[in-house]
């Protein structure tokens, strides 16, 4: 019901709104009143307005930057652009924390490289982010922005505490998912704290409290991860300059193939060949001209130093002999084929038949979003998910997150609330139907509500 939804929002955000935004303290009487606070809704509304404003500004920036020939002016434009892009992330995070995150039905399908670069665009120290090896896959429309924002929170955190460059890479796993790695070389996090963080991230999403309101990064990561069944895990490398590795596991159903981004150029290349997955076969060493070529003027190649990892078993298993790049695509699991199977399980009581008369599977008019067996691998209790020390799980060994049942008693989305709301309305309508049917002319349709 809407009232319950509002109450939940109020619980989540009211303390945050008061402590962070320095709002005038509400009168005690106001706190005791059972009525839900309006703050989450206010925050959501303002976040939406801000997002809409920056969406209007972006094409203007694009236009200004496109033909600008003067280096100094362009630099200024970049700074303004950077500010607008960071504003967008702030507004987006406010929207997420307000708990009323809109179901994303549209969006931009985005290659993994672009997801990482969208995240880079929205953080302060983007110049200190290097892109390592990245598999040539994309993220589906409804999740691309959220994945970018999740990565943005992680690299924002990493660059804030690491003086050296942060390396982001994305590797294909055996189960068809992707593991993104965000590696920094900062002072690292205390191992016990890392354990705690991992336990929290594996558990249920907590409400927004005063403490969370001060450290918004992980609550954002937690919410976004839960929303899409993404798993996030941190590992601290011991020793000076060891730094921290954040691992983001994208389930196969969030991934898709990408068409070539620059078809105009593709036809012109003399020997263009499939380079899938890019970077996994060892490319020739150039003087700083590898993947990081367009990233940093001075920096050399910055492939993740996986051999230096204290837990080498965490390294992705997508590394393959470099000699057989052309044979790889067929050998790979096809991620977009994965999540199609258990459609019949969602047959409604109204429509129990799962096959048509001709024996074909009956189609259910439901959105892909809900029918795909979203695994919610972050289960509701820490005990349910083994985020522990079993590295095989993270390495993507035999685990298939998509097969696991997904009990989500607590994590009800806005859409689910809306569904139960409409179901309730329908039930009420049915209950009041008989008297209406007896006197069809006396009560105009629609009135019983």
């Amino acid at each position: 019901m809407v009232s319950r939804w509002r109450q939940r929002l109020a619980r989540r955000l009211d303390p945050a709104a008061q402590s962070v935004q320095q709002q005038p303290a509400p009168e005690p009487a106001q706190l005791e009143r059972p009525e839900p606070s309006a703050w989450p809704i206010v925050c959501h509304q303002f976040a939406l307005r801000m997002l809409s404003l920056v969406e209007q500004l972006r094409p203007e920036m694009d236009h200004l930057e496109l033909h600008e020939d003067d280096a100094a002016t362009l630099e200024r434009l970049y700074r303004v652009d950077h500010g607008i892009t960071r504003l967008r992330r702030v507004a987006g995070y406010l929207q997420i924390l307000s708990g009323a995150d809109d179901e994303q039905l549209t969006g931009y399908r985005s290659s993994l490289v672009d997801v990482i670069r969208e995240a880079e665009s929205a953080i302060e120290h983007y110049k200190r982010v290097n892109i390592g090896r990245v598999a040539e896959l994309g993220v589906v429309e409804y999740a691309a922005k959220d994945v970018a924002w999740l990565v943005a929170a992680l690299i924002d955190n990493a660059t804030a505490y690491s003086p050296a460059a942060v390396v982001v890479s994305a590797h294909l796993l055996d189960n068809g998912g992707i593991m993104m790695r965000i590696e920094d070389s900062g002072i690292g996090i205390d191992p016990r704290r890392v354990e705690n963080l991992n336990a929290v991230l594996a558990g249920a999403v907590p409400d927004v409290t005063d403490d969370i309101a001060r450290h918004t990064g992980f609550p954002i990561i937690h919410r976004l991860a839960r929303k899409h069944g993404i798993r996030v895990r941190l590992a601290s490398r011991p020793g000076a300059g060891g730094g921290t590795v954040a691992m983001v596991l994208l389930p196969p159903e969030l991934l898709c193939e990408m068409p070539p981004e620059f078809p105009a150029a593709a036809g012109q290349g003399r020997h263009r060949e499939a380079s899938w997955p890019r970077g996994v076969p060892s490319a020739p060493e150039l003087h700083g001209a590898h993947l990081s070529l367009i990233q940093r003027p001075s920096g050399g190649r910055t492939a993740p130093p996986e051999t230096a990892l204290p837990r080498p078993e965490l390294a992705p298993r997508s590394s393959r002999p470099s000699s057989t790049p052309s044979a790889q695509p067929s050998a790979q699991p096809q991620p977009r084929l994965a999540p199609q199977s258990p459609l019949p399980a969602v047959a409604t009581p109204d429509n129990p038949a799962q096959t048509t008369k001709s024996g074909l599977p009956r189609r259910e008019s439901q959105s892909l979003r809900t029918t795909s067996p979203l695994p919610a691998p972050l289960a509701d209790g820490p005990s349910d998910v083994d985020y522990g020390d079993d590295p095989v799980e993270l390495g993507g060994g035999g685990e298939q997150p998509s097969v696991r049942p997904a009990p989500r008693p607590q994590a009800r989305s806005f859409a689910e609330d809306l569904d139960s709301f409409t179901a309730g309305v329908n039930a009420a309508r049915q209950r009041s139907a008989p008297p209406v049917a007896d006197q069809p002319d006396s009560i105009p349709e629609g009135q019983p509500r």
Partner: protein, 115 residues
């Protein structure tokens, strides 16, 4: 397919707008020795420019064909040139003495006549 509009241009160049070499809109660029492995190792924009420059083109043409903003094209080509992946041809303005050679004048005349 529409590229992700929130990948901002400053990220593609790490905020840089200048290049070591002077690259004007009319500066011609070519690829002396195309290497598909190199192409595969480049990020999408650099790869597109590297492949386009297989036919000698000006900076302005490269930008227009790839739909990559001029300022980004310039910096990416500058990086490719710094790694000797593309060759930058001398132009009238990039030469130290600011004299336009007669050959260039002839090319301009021919170009105008062809319009």
């Amino acid at each position: 397919m529409m590229p992700n509009p929130w990948v901002r241009p400053y990220v593609l160049t790490a905020g840089r707008t200048r290049t070591k070499q002077r690259l004007l809109v009319e500066t011609l660029v070519s690829v002396p020795r195309y290497d598909p492995q190199v192409a595969a190792s480049l990020l999408p924009e650099s790869r597109a420019l590297y492949e386009l420059a297989g036919r000698t083109m000006s900076i302005a043409e490269l930008s227009a064909h790839s739909k990559i903003a001029l300022g980004v094209t310039r910096v990416l080509i500058g990086d490719l040139a710094a790694n000797h992946l593309v060759a930058v041809h001398a132009t009238a303005h990039s030469d130290r003495d600011n004299i336009i050679p007669s050959l260039t004048l002839e090319r301009i005349r021919n170009g105008l006549a062809a319009l």
